[in-house]
Amino acid sequence: MKKDIIGKTIYSVVLAFVCIIWVLPVLAVVINSFKVNTFVKTNTFDLPTGEMNAGFSNFVNGMTFGNYPFFKSVLYSVVITVLSVGLILLFTSMAAWYIARVDNMICKIVYFLCVFSMVVPFQMVMFTLSKTADKLKLNTPFTIPIVYLGFGAGLAIFMFVGFVKSIPLEIEEAAAIDGCGPIGTYFMVVVHMLKPTLISVGILELMWVWNDYLLPYLVLDINEYRTIPIHIQYLKGSYGTVDLGATMALILLSIIPVIIFYFACQKYIIKGVAAGAVKG
């Protein structure tokens, strides 16, 4: 028994050590966001003390760095993510319920296409998709969510159909007997039972849309609209000098909300990711 306790303590110590290594990259971002640009490359792992200390100047410069205001990128990222995830959750769960309950030929075809779309890499459709989106004026932050709904429908419908099939039909039949039409049944009964899956799918789609770079880069007019990943990529891209200090400041600002969100909803995030992985 004693040997066991020693073994476990060793495990704990080793893992604690690995954990510290695991947070170091984030710490490196923090210390370098307060460092004068020229020292970021030469003294990457030193604390920003003395002449290396830039105070908050990196954050101030970063706001307008790259010829595009950072807060606009944040705003567009939020708009695109919220609208896309909202549209996906509402419409794919409705479609999934229809597919699972009606289950005729059309439903089977749509379901098959959804599963099929999950194995298609984005490169396969990126050129034609961006041209189609352009033609249909889906190239603004307020219309691009429709593209996300289309390309993200596969996984969402797959997960929702799987869950709806496990809900006993009797509950919906009881609602129908009580005089509920399909719309009432869906919004007053089914949605409540779908809640855990809504959260799982919502988190998966949220992580995808928020971090997505290529789709908005190809579809949006990037002189006018940028998202956070596009903004970060363009800091290094075309403006000659690279201000690493300001880049790190913006990276820090963009990961802080993600980390706060993670600690607040950790339980759901881990559950959602596990559910998506086992199915995907």
């Binding site: 409705m94 890499p121 429908a153 992580m207 928020w210």
Partner: protein, 298 residues
């Protein structure tokens, strides 16, 4: 009686086809079905703009196969995918195994290991580019100067990002291994390693399969991290003037062919994209067939 009762809701749901299915169907056709069909068609065409596409048969595919940079990126991607798959899975399984041994602080460890998974690929690339250059600049070199730095740099980045994700799947698998099986074995005098290799690992085989295929397809589809960390550098200039980007993976190669300086290569790029799709979808189908077979056995 029972049959007519359950039929009523279904018939009335059916009447609302447009409301329930309409929005998703419209978006799905715009966002997937139409671009996919058009993509297949354009891979057989010569075009700059879609409207003046001209059918030319398989010649784009011929050019794609004879493109040295594409063949290079395939080899590079395949090696990368296999190496990252093995390393990530071994590490993730080890961490998950230790975390399921009832040790102190396992919740905190799990939280920390999973965290990098939420950071986007572009941001990850720049974080690690800074770290690697911070180390390599002491030896007056850079991650952009040597292929091996770019390769192992991307491996380290992917380990940091993916170990936590795979760990979650392994933890779920390990927790499903029946305790009484392990107890029975230890009463029969089995050693720890015997229990691990004879009972635990065979019981988590489904998780190992899932994680292996996930690792493989993730490796093949990698784009953002590749673009942000090295963007394909360093380049080797070929005798004919074209460049092989020595850390460029398949997805980035296709992207560069589409949007690079050679504007007449869009047809070839689309053909590459179709080949890439067949490869990735093939891996997906293989996974499906494999997991189905295992399900039957159990």
């Amino acid at each position: 009686m029972n049959k007519t009762r359950s039929k009523t809701p279904k018939e009335s749901i059916k009447k609302h086809f447009l409301l329930f299915m309409g929005p998703v169907l419209a978006a799905f056709i715009i966002g997937f079905v139409w671009p996919f069909i058009q993509g297949i068609y354009l891979s057989f065409c010569k075009f700059r703009l879609i409207k003046d596409a001209e059918f030319i048969g398989f010649s784009n595919y011929g050019k794609a196969f004879s493109d040295a940079s594409f063949r290079y990126s395939f080899d590079y991607t395949a090696v990368f995918a296999v190496v990252s798959l093995v390393l990530i899975n071994v590490l993730a399984f080890t961490v998950a195994y230790i975390l399921t041994q009832n040790i102190k602080g396992s919740n905190l460890f799990r939280t920390v290991f999973f965290m990098p998974n939420l950071i986007g690929g572009i941001v990850l690339g720049y974080i690690w580019a800074m770290i690697f250059d911070g180390i390599l600049s002491r030896y007056s070199t850079s991650i952009l100067l040597e292929t091996k730095y770019g390769f192992w740099g991307l491996i380290i980045l992917m380990i940091w990002q993916q170990v936590g994700y795979m760990m979650i799947i392994y933890i779920a698998g390990l927790q499903a291994v029946p305790d009484d099986m392990i107890e029975a074995a230890s009463i029969d005098g089995a050693s720890r390693s015997q229990i691990l290799f004879r009972i635990t690992i065979p019981n988590v085989m489904p998780s190992i399969t899932i994680c292996s295929f996930l690792g493989l397809t993730n490796g093949f589809k990698l784009f953002d991290q590749n673009l942000a960390l090295t963007g394909g550098q360093p380049f080797i200039i070929q005798p004919d003037g074209s460049a092989i980007k020595t850390t460029e993976m398949m997805a980035l190669n296709i992207f560069n062919t589409f949007y690079g300086s050679n504007k007449s290569a869009t047809g070839v790029a689309q053909a590459k994209a179709v080949l890439f799709f067949i490869l990735v979808a093939g891996l997906g189908l293989l996974q499906l067939a494999y997991t189905r077979k295992r399900e039957v056995q159990q």
